[in-house]
C-alpha cells in the first residue's frame, strides 16, 4: 500500500468515493429519514402534513386488514420456504456431479431464475386461467378433476397454492445453484472416508453432506424468507389481492395505502413496521455470512 499511503491520497480517495456517498445519501439515507418523519404525520398529499405522533402505529395495530395481510404473508412464507429448500436441495443432490446431462439439467432449472417475476406471473396467470389455461386442461385430460377449477382470485387458499407453484418454478434454481456449489466444496477426502467406512447414502447425506452445507442452507433459507415476506409482483398480477384483499400481501397493503389511497403517513408507518420485521432476518443473515468469512 506504500504508493497510496500519502497524506494527499486521503483526499484523492475520498474524491473517488464521493459520487457513491452522495448517491446513497440522496437516494437511500434521505428517504429513510424521510420515512421516519412521514410515519409520524397524517398526510394525503393534497392537504399539508399534520404531526400526529405515534397514531399511525396504533392505527395499524387496530387495522384488521393490516393483520390479515401480515398473516397471509407469513402463511405464504411458511408454505413456500420448505418446498424451495427441500426441492432445491434434492435437485442439487441429483445433479451435483459434473456429467453433461446433469449440467444441462442445472442450466435448465436455473433459466426461470433470470426471467422477471412479472413475466413469469403473467405466464402462470394464463396457465392457471380457468378456461384457457393448460393446468385445468391437463388435470381434466388425466381425469384428476371433473370440471374446470377456478384457481385465482376466488378462494384465498387455492390462489395461494397456484401462486406458490408458479414461484417455486421461478426460483427453485436459485437455491439449487448455491447448494450445488456448497456440496461441491466439500473436500473429496471427507466423502471418501465416509464411503470407505461403509456409510449408506442416507447416512452420508444426514451425517456428512447436510452438516457440512448447513450454513448455505440457513443462508438460502433466510434469503428466501426475506424475499417471500416482501412478495408483491406475483400477487398484484395473479390475484390483484382478491378475494376481498385476502391475498393482499404486506407490501401490497403498503402499496395500496401509499399510492391508490394516498395515505402517505400511514403507508410510511406500515413500511417501517415491515422494514423492522425484515431487519431481524437480515441481521441473522449478516451474522451468518460474517462467520463464513472467519
Amino acid at each position: 500500500m506504500s504508493i497510496y499511503s500519502t497524506r494527499s491520497n486521503r483526499l484523492t480517495g475520498l474524491l473517488y468515493l464521493a459520487p457513491a456517498l452522495a448517491f446513497v445519501a440522496a437516494f437511500t439515507a434521505w428517504p429513510l429519514g424521510q420515512m421516519l418523519w412521514v410515519s409520524l404525520n397524517s398526510w394525503s398529499l393534497i392537504t399539508p402534513p399534520k404531526f400526529i405522533g405515534l397514531n399511525n402505529f396504533t392505527k395499524a395495530f387496530n387495522d384488521k386488514q393490516f393483520w390479515v395481510s401480515l398473516g397471509f404473508t407469513l402463511k405464504y412464507t411458511l408454505l413456500i420456504t420448505p418446498i424451495l429448500m427441500i426441492g432445491g436441495y434434492a435437485i442439487a443432490l441429483l445433479t451435483v456431479k459434473n456429467t453433461p446431462l446433469r449440467r444441462f439439467t442445472r442450466a435448465v432449472v436455473f433459466v426461470p431464475v433470470v426471467i422477471g417475476l412479472g413475466a413469469s406471473s403473467l405466464l402462470w396467470y394464463w396457465l392457471f386461467s380457468t378456461d384457457y389455461g393448460f393446468v385445468n386442461r391437463l388435470l381434466l385430460d388425466f381425469g384428476l378433476i371433473d370440471k374446470a377449477v377456478i384457481w385465482l382470485g376466488v378462494d384465498a387458499d387455492r390462489s395461494n397454492w397456484a401462486i406458490i407453484v408458479s414461484v417455486v418454478w421461478k426460483v427453485l434454481g436459485f437455491g439449487m445453484i448455491l447448494f450445488v456449489a456448497a456440496i461441491q466444496a466439500i473436500p473429496p477426502e471427507v466423502s471418501e472416508a465416509a464411503m470407505v467406512d461403509g456409510a449408506s447414502p442416507w447416512q452420508r447425506l444426514t451425517q456428512v453432506t447436510l452438516p457440512l452445507t448447513l450454513r448455505t442452507v440457513l443462508l438460502v433459507t433466510l434469503i428466501s424468507v426475506i424475499g417471500s415476506l416482501l412478495a408483491f409482483d406475483q400477487f398484484y398480477i395473479m390475484t390483484a389481492g382478491q378475494p376481498q384483499n385476502l391475498t393482499a400481501t404486506s407490501v401490497f397493503y403498503v402499496y395500496l395505502n401509499s399510492f391508490p389511497y394516498l395515505k402517505l403517513g400511514y403507508g410510511a408507518a406500515l413500511s417501517l413496521i415491515l422494514a423492522v420485521i425484515i431487519l431481524v432476518f437480515t441481521i441473522i443473515q449478516m451474522l451468518l455470512t460474517r462467520r463464513s468469512h472467519a
Binding site: 457513491a20 422477471g116 378456461d131
Partner: protein
C-alpha cells in the same frame, strides 16, 4: 481422487455381486430419467408460452386450449406492436432505463471500488457500511418517500428517475463486486506506473480497468437483469402510459382486457419478448451470472 478408487468405493457401497451391478445401472437410468423429467417440467411453461404466442387469434382464445398450434400466425406480435403507445415505445423505455442503470452503476462503483480497495481514507470502514445501507432496508419500504422526493424533483414518469431506483437497489452488490475486483489487482503494476509518473486517475484507467473488466461485466449484467425485470418501483413511479416499461404495459394489458376478455395470444407474445433478452444474456454470460450470484449470496 483416482478413478480406480472411486470405482472401488462405489462397489463397496453397493456390494460387488450381480445385485450390486444391477443396482448401479438402475440408479444410472433412474437419475437420467429424473433429470429429463425435471427438464420437461421446467421447460414446458416456456414452450407453452412461445407456442401460444404464435397461434392464430381464434385458436389462442379456444376453450379448451390446444396443446400444439393447429394454425401458425404472427398476429399476436403484430397486435402487440401497435398496442396502446406501441411496443417500440415500451421496449425503448425498458432498454433505456436498463442502460442508464448500467451506466450509473459503473460510474459510481468503479471509482468507489478503487477508492475502497486502495486509498487510506479516514473512517473507511464506517463509510463502507454507510454505502451498504440499502442492504438493511428493503427498497419496497422506501418507495413512498422516494416517490415524494421524485415528485418534487420532477423525476416521476422519467426513465432517469427509475434508473436511479434500479441503481440504488443494486448498489451494495455492485460495490462489493467492484471493491473485491480492485483488491485482487496486483499492486506491483500500479507501483511501476506511479514510478513512471502516472497519477492515480491514469493508474485507474490504464492499469486497473483492464484487470477489472470481468467484474464490470458482472455489475452490468446484474444491473440489466434487475432493471429489465423490476416491477414495483416502475408501477409506483410511472403513471403515464407512454412512460411504462414492458412489465407494466403487459400487466396493464392483463387487467384492462380482463373485462372484455384477455387477449391471451398477445399477452404470451409479450411474455416471450420480455423473456428473450434475459435468457439470451444468461446463456451468453452464464459464467459471470453464476459467479456473481455466488459472490452476492454470501456477501
Amino acid at each position: 481422487m483416482s478413478a480406480d478408487l472411486a470405482q472401488s468405493i462405489d462397489e463397496t457401497a453397493a456390494g460387488n455381486g450381480v445385485l450390486g451391478r444391477l443396482w448401479r445401472s438402475r440408479t444410472k437410468y433412474l437419475v437420467g430419467a429424473a433429470c429429463l423429467f425435471i427438464c420437461v417440467i421446467m421447460l414446458a411453461p416456456l414452450v407453452a408460452s412461445v407456442l401460444a404466442s404464435v397461434k392464430s387469434t381464434a385458436e389462442a382464445a379456444a376453450v379448451p386450449p390446444t396443446y400444439v398450434p393447429q394454425s401458425w400466425s404472427l398476429d399476436s406480435y403484430l397486435k402487440l406492436w401497435v398496442y396502446q403507445a406501441g411496443l417500440p415505445v415500451y421496449l425503448l423505455n425498458s432498454f433505456g432505463t436498463a442502460f442508464m442503470a448500467i451506466a450509473f452503476s459503473l460510474l459510481l462503483t468503479v471509482p468507489a471500488g478503487y477508492a475502497l480497495a486502495r486509498f487510506p481514507i479516514p473512517g473507511k470502514e464506517l463509510l463502507f457500511v454507510f454505502l451498504l445501507l440499502a442492504l438493511i432496508i428493503p427498497y419496497q419500504a422506501l418507495l413512498t418517500p422516494i416517490f415524494l422526493m421524485f415528485a418534487q424533483l420532477k423525476l416521476t414518469n422519467s426513465l432517469v428517475g427509475l434508473a436511479i431506483i434500479h441503481t440504488a437497489i443494486q448498489l451494495p452488490f455492485s460495490l462489493y463486486i467492484m471493491r473485491n475486483a480492485f483488491e485482487a489487482v496486483p499492486i506491483e503494476l500500479e507501483e511501476a506506473a506511479v514510478i513512471d509518473g502516472c497519477n492515480s486517475f491514469q493508474v485507474l484507467v490504464r492499469i486497473c480497468l483492464p484487470s477489472v473488466v470481468p467484474a464490470m461485466i458482472t455489475v452490468a449484467l446484474f444491473a440489466f437483469i434487475t432493471s429489465w425485470n423490476e416491477f414495483l418501483g416502475a408501477l409506483v413511479m410511472m403513471n403515464r402510459q407512454d412512460s411504462f416499461t414492458l412489465p407494466l404495459i403487459l400487466a396493464a394489458a392483463r387487467t384492462e382486457t380482463s373485462l372484455g376478455g384477455t387477449d391471451w395470444g398477445m399477452l404470451q407474445a409479450g411474455v416471450t419478448i420480455s423473456i428473450i433478452p434475459c435468457v439470451g444474456i444468461y446463456l451468453m454470460l452464464q459464467k459471470y451470472y453464476v459467479s456473481g450470484l455466488l459472490a452476492g449470496a454470501v456477501k
